[in-house]
């Protein structure tokens, strides 16, 4: 056989295959769909990165020129450090988010193992190829992300008070700091996955891994949202970095930059050493864990996943409280099982839960009111007022997003052949599920706190308004919903990410705070409540009636236009243009 003469070796071909499909994981419904999402992400990151450049910031123009005009370098250098750390945070967060995005591609999966089982490919070749693909991907990613910062930051941070005014030295220092920070985060996450792979029993791996993925996504967002606060650190905070930043990776890599620029401050030298050691440890751990995983891989991933489960059926579930009708219960249990067990849906839902947690925690620690005893009342007021609506704004779209992505698209025939008898009941079940899953829990937790803080009547008025606002938001979001969750094909990126993020920004930054102030006032004043409530109720009622119009009559949708439709075995269906939209 001489076929290998025309190729470049199995490891090379495998590496190329893995690189091509690095992003084709659970986040997209079919091969290549990640490209739309990636384009949107880049389109979003460019303006965010531009905002970091003070000279492009309408409020920050001349910032460094003013600091350079001061008689001493202290304030200039403190500002540079704050900006540098925030830049490193941004780069680290982006690296982390991308690593989480390709989480399923960081190690060989059981699917790789099984799909390649019949081919003349040795397991070590799969591992080598996967490691090579991950390394090449990380290299390109890290280098690509640091080109612009390495050129822009030195020009912004240059001048007479710079540690080393040389532009060339500043480029090298900035590039080294940025590259190290990004590579550290990326490989630390690869190593973390390898660690989980080796300590968690095979059958639990997928579940544990996904929870960690979700938690890390939330943590990344939380840190990312702190970016703007770090940038505005006053000199006093910068001077206290040795007290609180010793174990914070961006500070280590800021130390790399300081050291390369010639600073001989013992603290920054120590941080630089720590940064280099951390990077070496992350890369070393990755290599070690790849080797270790290779040894244990078959047992962990292939054999470990095949386990007979002897228990699991629940005789009763809280979902049974939502309906007694069998068809509705079927849908409620299906939705709950899919959301908690299907990797794709779980990953998306966890990401939004992480996002919600990040928004809530960030907004609550802005001034530390919750933690300071003399201002605790104000802090708790903020929780009671802001959190429910903020949760609604983040979680409802999150649930909608998770529900739009199909789970095992070809299995939806079971619903299609029963749809005519149950359409109306199904839609009603979906409505109940969304309210129970994404709206009710936060109110169940916070209403007792609200009663404790404000007493029964004000709390009742506030809760009623908040609940109806949440329900109104649900009506707006699900107004044209005409599908059974998880059963319709989905084309991601139909709405530009910039628009989505801007929408969140406006809603969370302006609309929710304004509504919260009004709700607080209505909680105190019955007159204001009765002014606001009828209008809100009327709006909700009208939207609800509009949404429910035609329930049970119009067929549900199973195809997203323009999507590569996975059919039920009829190849010809693929060429038929979809005419219905989801």
């Amino acid at each position: 056989m001489n076929t290998s003469r025309r190729t470049r070796g199995r490891t090379y071909e495998l590496t190329r295959h893995f690189l091509r499909h690095m992003f084709d994981s659970e986040w997209s419904a079919s091969t290549g769909q990640w490209q739309t999402a990636a384009t949107s992400l880049v389109a979003l990151l460019i303006p965010v990165a531009m905002l970091l450049v003070r000279e492009l910031d309408p409020f920050g123009q001349g910032y460094y020129r003013r600091l350079l005009a001061l008689p001493t370098p202290d304030r200039f250098r403190a500002a540079v450090l704050a900006d540098e750390i925030s830049l490193l945070v941004l780069l680290s967060v982006i690296s982390g988010v991308i690593a989480l995005f390709v989480w399923q591609s960081l190690f060989p999966s059981p699917r790789d193992f099984l799909a390649l089982a019949g081919l003349p490919v040795r397991p070590h070749q799969v591992f080598t190829a996967r490691l090579a693909a991950v390394s090449v991907f990380a290299g390109v990613l890290v280098a690509g992300m640091n080109v612009v910062p390495a050129l822009v930051a030195p020009s912004e941070f240059g001048g007479r008070w710079a540690i080393d005014p040389s532009f060339g030295a500043a480029i090298v220092a900035q590039a080294a700091a940025g590259l190290s920070a990004c590579a550290f985060v990326f490989f630390a996450l690869v190593a973390l996955q390898g660690f989980i792979l080796n300590i968690v029993p095979g059958r639990f791996y997928a579940r544990v891994s996904l929870w960690i993925q979700g938690l890390l996504a939330g943590a990344m967002l939380l840190v990312g949202l702190r970016l703007w606060a770090i940038r505005e650190w006053p000199m006093s905070t910068v001077q206290r970095i040795p007290e609180f930043g010793v174990w914070w990776p961006p500070v280590w890599f800021a130390g790399v930059r300081e050291y390369l620029l010639g600073s001989r401050d013992p603290f920054w030298s120590e941080m630089a050493t720590r940064g280099v050691q951390a990077l070496a440890a992350a890369i070393g751990s990755t290599l070690f864990l790849y080797l270790l995983s290779y040894r244990r891989y078959r047992r962990l991933m292939v054999e470990g996943s095949v386990q007979r489960q002897t228990s699991g059926a629940r005789r009763w579930s809280p979902l049974d409280l939502l309906s007694r009708e069998p068809r509705q219960r079927a849908i409620l249990h299906f939705l709950s099982a899919t959301l908690s067990r299907s990797r794709t849906q779980r990953a998306i839902w966890l990401a939004y839960l992480g996002g919600a947690a990040a928004v809530l925690i960030n907004s609550s620690i802005v001034d530390g009111a919750v933690w300071v005893s003399r201002r605790r009342q104000a802090g708790l007021d903020f929780l009671v007022l802001f959190w429910p609506l903020a949760c609604t704004v983040v979680l409802l779209p999150g649930l909608r997003h998770a529900m739009r992505v199909p789970a095992e698209l070809r299995a939806h025939w079971i619903f299609r052949i029963h749809e005519a008898a149950g359409r109306s009941a199904w839609m009603s079940a979906v409505e109940r599920f969304v309210v129970a899953y994404a709206i009710a829990p936060v109110y169940l937790v916070l209403i007792p706190l609200s009663i404790h803080l404000h007493g029964w009547m004000p709390s009742a008025r506030m809760a009623i308004l908040q609940v109806f606002l949440s329900l109104t938001f649900f009506e707006i979001l699900f107004q044209s919903w005409q599908q059974l969750p998880f059963t319709c094909s989905y084309r991601p990126g139909s709405k530009p990410l910039v628009t989505v993020v801007a929408g969140y920004g406006v809603t969370l930054g302006a609309l929710v705070p304004v509504l919260s102030i009004y709700i607080a006032a209505a909680g105190r004043s019955a007159i204001l409540f009765w002014l606001f409530f009828p209008m809100l109720f009327g709006l909700w009622f009208k939207l609800r009636a509009g949404r429910r119009e035609g329930w049970g009559e119009a067929p549900l949708l199973y195809e997203d236009p323009g999507d590569a439709v996975i059919d039920l075995g009829i190849t010809e269906m693929r060429v038929q243009p979809a005419v219905r939209s989801c």
């Binding site: 099982a337 299995a411 039920l568 009829i570």
Partner: protein, 254 residues
């Protein structure tokens, strides 16, 4: 009686099913056979309402099923060609989902599900996710799902695929028993030996068109062939199998 009248399906100019007509009476098993791509599964999907026909209609007891699709689907049991199931649900959960979608609830559903799982030897694996099931186990789940709710019409698309020999024999007997009880059965398959044994009539589909539709005895007489396989070969074969196999062997060493 289930009647298919002039059923046609076109996909972007391609004729997948071309004016197919047949009837299946209560108590009868109609064998629906044809080569790959002949249009068997497309016909089945049009009958059960998964896809809309381009032309023609499906009637049950003289009325178009489209007039009350919900009522038609409520008396229908279907085993699809491929065992597409939700992999994260257990076998028990999948059957529970099916039972509830059919409007069954409580003890009646539980008893039926438990009975099917035990009869098919899946009881010990009932809480294991379907993703861990073998193809045969998935097929048993699909058969159980089709039988839940005591359907009057059964449409089987390769129901024996992946089953072990004993289960195949049981399912064969089961299909004959269901027909004997007066149920209407459409049996689409490539396993001609089974079709020959259990079906009273056979429809052979080729390139979307009816190539033959008669009782097996009549087909034998008309074509002067001794078996259904020989009849099928004569009506649908386009290349000599031996010659084709030889070409494969040559292609392997090229």
């Amino acid at each position: 009686m289930l009647e298919v009248r002039g059923l046609t399906k076109r996909y972007a100019g391609t004729l997948a099913v071309d004016h197919v007509s047949f009837q299946v009476s209560a108590g009868e098993i109609l064998g629906y056979v044809g080569p790959n791509g002949a249009g068997k599964s497309t016909t089945v999907k049009m009958i059960i309402g998964l896809i809309d026909p381009s032309e023609g209609m499906v009637l049950y007891n003289g009325r178009s099923v489209r007039e009350d699709l919900a009522a038609f689907q409520s008396i229908l049991g279907y085993v699809p060609e491929e065992p597409y199931l939700y992999p994260y649900l257990s076998g028990y959960e999948y059957l529970e989902l099916t039972a509830r979608l059919r409007g069954m609830a409580g003890n009646r559903a539980e008893a039926a599900i438990s009975e099917f799982l035990q009869l098919f030897g899946l009881w010990d694996d009932r809480h294991t996710p379907v993703s861990s099931y073998s193809k045969g186990m998935r097929q048993k789940i699909l058969l159980s799902a089709a039988l839940l709710g005591d359907p009057q019409i059964l449409i089987f698309d390769e129901p024996l695929s992946g089953l072990d020999v004993t289960t195949m024999l049981v399912v064969r007997e089961l299909m004959q028993g269901l027909a004997a009880q007066g149920r209407t059965i459409l049996y689409s398959s490539h396993v001609l030996e089974v079709v020959e044994k259990i079906c009273s009539r056979v429809l052979i589909l080729n390139r979307g068109r009816v190539a033959a539709h008669d009782s097996i005895q009549n087909l034998r007489e008309t074509t002067r062939q001794s078996s259904l396989e020989a009849i099928f070969g004569e009506l649908t074969r386009e290349a000599d199998p031996r010659e084709l196999a030889g070409r494969f062997l040559r292609a392997m060493t090229t």
